[in-house]
Amino acid sequence: MKKSYAIKRVLYSVFVFVIVMALNFFIPRIGVADPAERYYPPQGNMTDAQYEIIKQLTREQYGFDVSTPQQFLNYVGGLFQGDLGTSFRSGSPGVMELIVDRLPWTLVLSVSTMLLGLIFGIMIGVIAAMKRGRWQDTTLLNASTIMIALPGFFIALLLSFFLGFELEIFPAYTDPNMVSDFGWNMTAILRVIENAALPVLSMMVGSIVGYAQGTRNAVIAVTNEDFILTAKAKGLRNTTIRYKHTLRNAMLPIVTSIGMSISGLIGGQVVIEQIFNWNGMGTLFLEANNMNDYPLMMGIMLLLSGFTILAILITDLIYVLLDPRVTVGDRR
């Protein structure tokens, strides 16, 4: 049963990815007859004849000179070979190369935010649930009501202002040489940590509070379940009940929420990277947007969506491992 469920989930994820891929292909083609117009909008001082020539060149360069279905096939075929198309930048670098350069730096931020957020979030949530109604709990409640209304980029600005400019504890802007000077030595790694501190901190605050609140609610919900009463009636020790019975069950909704939160985390990171001048995919994406570099934008979008799909798939599969009840029924 479980195996077939896993197969079903994998197949479904592939299906979703295919749809996302199609969307990625068609979104830049919305509202224009010729994709070349989108890629190279008419400039003011250009005659029609000149523009026509430029369009023709664009078509040839980006493969728009064939029919749309054929373009789609070429696009899909390229994807299979790891080719996300050609960037509109000067020098026509491949989208893939551009992304691969930035990807690790983005992952540094998102993975550390995620891990720290999860660890602290779950810890705080469990404590709050255990001390329900006492100050630990009310503090979390109040913190979450406030934090939930503070956008990450505002926190980032505040941190950059106070910790960066005023107190000068952490660099307010990312060191531009961080990437180029990077090597696997202590100083370089420390420098990355130092520079990543503020961006990670500003994204982490929100995710800690979010996970903590979720954990608290999940733990309390499980505490009210009948089987916890059974465990108590069995005379089990509090620690056994807490870790073997309560937490294990409370993990289930938490795992699901992790998958769901990833899309938001990735989106929010675009702004944070911009504030701290962090050389990740977010800034790359904004650069692409400013230059109307559609192949690059759509490439990044596809990659980010792919990551999200993968993350949701993984959390789903972990869920299946944790919860023996999951069978074939549609859980979502």
């Binding site: 109604g133 379940e225 009948d226 089987f227 009463l229 059974t230 465990a231 108590k232 009636a233 069995k234 005379g235 089990l236 020790r237 509090n238 056994t240 073997k244 019975h245 294990r248 069950n249 289930l252 944790l322 919860d323 023996p324 009840r325």
Partner: protein, 331 residues
């Protein structure tokens, strides 16, 4: 009286709520002798489950406020036991069987593991030895292929099997007292008969005291020696099953018995108790049952009758008990 398993005196439980105190249990006394089987009968909201949970000290405070004069279990005064002292009493000395086995078993743990825990906690066995005991325990309650079943998760078993797993768990350490809270309510009639017969056999064979909490008189008839009838937080009648079924003294017990359709009934009309159970926040003055009682007089409206003793250890909380003469149970 020499071998008393449990003595409970004057248990009172209230729950605070936004509108005042909910008076769940109002001074309940219960005595259970060794090997005796007691039933606590009442309808939903009468406080029977709260009473049973209070005996195991499983009522959480906050929010509940519990007070009792005496709680003696197997010769020990456990009234003031600390939570950690209670932990070594629960499961080992007294165990509980819950109503809905589906929700009462941890869904992400195999049934076997959940029983293993009992042996590991109370008998200090290692995992392997505990599993051997678990298999034996499952076998005792009539689970076929116990070794295989132990590896199943609760949702993979049928309702009857799950209930047996709960039975095995309760009997695991051969406690002195087992409290069964509506042990068969969620089951089908034929499965109910199976589970009850297992429970009864186990109880008799191992000389365990049993407190069955139920609303179902057929369960009572099947399993209990002595019955406490509860109504709205108070015991209204205590009698042996035979006595009660032959001649109930309290009008409520009489109504309850009469409203259970029986195969020997020939009339197409059922004897009914008018009205419904009072809300725990809006209990009537005087005897709680008087608004629904055919025999209520002014005295019943004014004050609560005491629980008075009658012959053969019977107790009734009624000013005008239905004595044998009239046979007035037929209202």
């Amino acid at each position: 009286m020499a071998e008393q398993t449990l003595t409970l005196r004057n248990l009172k439980v209230v729950f605070p709520s936004g509108m005042g105190l909910i008076r769940a249990v109002e001074g309940v006394d219960i005595d259970i002798g060794k090997g005796e089987s007691i039933a606590l009968v009442g309808e939903s909201g009468c406080g029977k489950s709260v009473t049973s949970m209070s005996i195991m000290k499983l009522i959480e405070s906050p929010p509940a406020i519990t007070k009792m004069d005496q709680l003696t279990f197997a010769g020990d005064d456990i009234k003031d036991y600390t939570p950690s002292q209670m932990q070594s009493v629960r499961g080992k000395m007294m165990a509980m069987i819950f109503q809905d086995a589906m929700t009462s078993l941890n869904p992400v743990m195999t049934c076997g593991k959940q029983i293993d825990e009992m042996f590991m906690r109370h008998m200090q066995l290692n995992k392997k030895a505990a599993r051997e005991e678990t298999v034996k325990a499952l076998e005792l309650v009539g689970v076929p292929e116990p070794r295989k079943r132990a590896k199943n998760f609760p949702h993979e078993l049928s309702g009857g099997m799950r209930q047996r797993v709960l039975l095995a768990m309760a009997f695991a350490c051969m406690p002195k007292l087992i409290i069964a809270d509506e042990p068969t309510t969620a089951l089908d009639v034929t499965i109910q008969a199976q589970v009850l017969s297992v429970l009864r056999d186990m109880q008799k064979k191992h000389d365990v005291s049993l407190l069955v909490v139920t609303h179902d008189l057929s369960v009572v008839a099947n399993i209990a020696d002595t019955v406490y009838v509860m109504y709205s937080g108070k015991i209204v009648e205590k009698a042996s099953v035979k006595q009660l079924f032959k001649q109930p003294f309290h009008p409520y017990s009489a109504g309850l018995l009469a409203s259970v359709p029986s195969l020997s009934d020939t009339a197409g009309h059922f004897v009914q108790i008018p009205g419904s159970v009072p809300h725990p926040m809006k209990k009537p003055t005087g005897c709680y049952f008087h608004p629904r009682c055919h025999y209520a007089k002014d005295k019943c409206k004014a004050s609560m009758p005491p629980l008075s003793a009658h012959d053969d250890g019977r107790q009734v909380r009624c000013f005008y008990p239905l004595k044998t003469n009239g046979g007035t149970s037929n209202v």
